[in-house]
């Protein structure tokens, strides 16, 4: 009762100042951002943090520099961040594509045949929790090439979520859809392509989304040990002991991660057809 009364009173007294939720969130975000940057700036100026920690203004200047000069080339240890970003993205694209091309068909097969799911489950369960970086020495030994090893790491890290989600989605296709196909006398192949795969598509896409997130997490870590790319950029700046650039790189990695994730969020929406993704 009191809540209702309060609302109506507020609504009557000052309807002009009532912001909707999104606007409220935006204001809160901006206020918190200003407070955070002020705290950072003052904290660094008055040496509250570690010795030599960069101020917010310096870091933002550096960010502006890197964003406005993305593609220059002064040798391997002084590359524009755009080049490094492209290197990282290319590795992710190749490794992720290879992983998806294996994971989706294999997941469909495993989902269709419960025996296969049971038989191969131990592999997935054992390999899924292994940190991708644990494969690094093995990859370097097998391929003797840092580029291929990077791709290998991405592939092996991003294969599991897609595989498991695809198999889960295919195995969980509603019996009703299968009954419809059966009563129409649809062939096995037609049922798979026209019913099972479209029905499992939301699960497949969310698997691909998780895999993409993991790829992007792993590439940065792997590249610290490999030689080029955003991960190497951070490692290089650490060796130069120039902290502002490390913070800039973290920010850029985050932004790219958001973009990649949103692409898949859009795809998920596209195949959800009224169900909440």
């Amino acid at each position: 009762m009191t809540v209702v009364e309060k609302r109506s009173i507020q609504g009557k007294e000052k309807p002009k100042f009532v912001l909707n939720e999104n606007l409220q969130a935006l204001v809160l975000f901006l206020v918190s951002l200003v407070i955070f940057l002020l705290f950072w700036e003052l904290g660094a100026k008055f040496k509250l943090f570690a010795k030599g920690f960069p101020t917010a203004s310096l870091t933002i200047q550096e960010l502006w520099y890197w964003v406005t000069h993305p593609f220059y080339n002064n040798g391997p240890n002084d590359l524009g961040i755009g080049w490094n970003l492209l290197v990282s993205l290319r590795r992710v694209a190749i490794g992720y594509t290879i992983a998806s091309l294996i994971a989706v068909p294999l997941g469909i097969l495993i989902g269709i045949y419960p025996v296969a799911a049971k038989a191969f489950n131990p592999y997935f369960q054992l390999l899924k929790p292994v940190s991708p970086l644990a494969w690094l020495p093995l990859g370097l030994y097998l391929f003797r090439d840092s580029e291929v090893t990077g791709i290998f790491i991405i592939a092996i890290a991003s294969i599991w979520p897609t595989l498991i989600n695809t198999a889960f989605g295919v195995a969980g296709v509603s019996q009703e859809y299968l009954d419809v196909a059966k009563t129409l006398g649809a062939s096995r192949l037609r049922t798979i392509f026209k019913v099972i795969i479209p029905a499992a598509l939301p699960n497949i896409i969310s698997g691909l989304r998780i895999s993409m997130g993991i790829s992007w997490l792993v590439i940065v870590a792997a590249e610290m040990l490999l030689g080029t790319g955003l991960g190497y950029f951070i490692w290089n700046e650490w060796n130069n002991l120039y902290i502002p650039n490390i913070i800039v790189a973290i920010f850029i990695i985050g932004v790219v991660g958001i973009v990649l994730d949103q692409i898949f969020a859009y795809l998920e929406k596209l195949v959800s057809f009224g169900k909440k993704a």
Binding site: S174, E176, Y177, D179, V180, A181, K182, T183, L184, G185, A186, R190, K194, V195, P198, A199, L201, V271, F273, G274, K275
Partner: protein, 294 residues
Amino acid sequence: MNLSLSSETFVNNQHQNSAQISLRHVSKVFPGRKGFLNNITGQATSDYVALEDINLDIEHNTFVCIIGPSGCGKSTLLNIIGGLSSASSGSVTMNGQAIEQPGPDRGMVFQNYALMPWMTVEGNIRFAVETVYPKLSAIERKRVVKEHIQLVGLTGAESKRPHEISGGMKQRVGIARALAINPQILLMDEPFGALDALTRGFLQDEIERIWEQERKTAIMITHSIEEALLLSDRIIMMTKGPAAKIDEILDVPFPRPRDRIQVEKHPAYLGLKQEMEDHLYRETRAVEEARLGN
């Protein structure tokens, strides 16, 4: 009274060959969990007899409703005729041929519509036509799809997806999809069970109208006495499960085409309704008592 009792009708029909669908001594047993391991872990269950010794003949071009208390195996019976489930014993034949698997000679309408959410209204119907008649020319296929969209009154909604239309419209698509493959028999498992009362009445009238046009053999499961009386030529009343049987088959004598109000004014209407109410009340009470007894 215009009631004619099932057992007599059944005996008369048994020696004729006019029946389109024929069930003889059909039983369905769902096997329980057995074996040493299940016995030890206490997970063993005994067999469940869903249907016992069902004998039934359904003639060409009749509309048959199956009514009975919930859990009496109505759906199991329909699935056996549809070929989605198989009888544990006995024979199920259609035009003298044993039914072993589902097929497009039987069109199914599902309670929860079972429309593919990624296909449009038109796409759902086209999928069925394409599957059953892969050699049909594109023009012919288009014509069949369009004709059935018109038949169920969905013109204008062709390119909508199932989540964009109401439950009543969804079931119209389900009915159009089942009819578009030109089946010999229409099987409907509580097609209006998920709809509100108004939509339900509206769709019943539609089914009556469509049935007068097509006159296909139809078997429909329902919980509604009025629905059964409005639509069917014969009403099969089943006893409660487990081991459900056919208790009685009522002939519905109302003239066709039918109209809700005329049907209710027919002299036999109240008697039939009373009979069905008594049956359902008795069986449902028995179900409740059996539950309390456990």
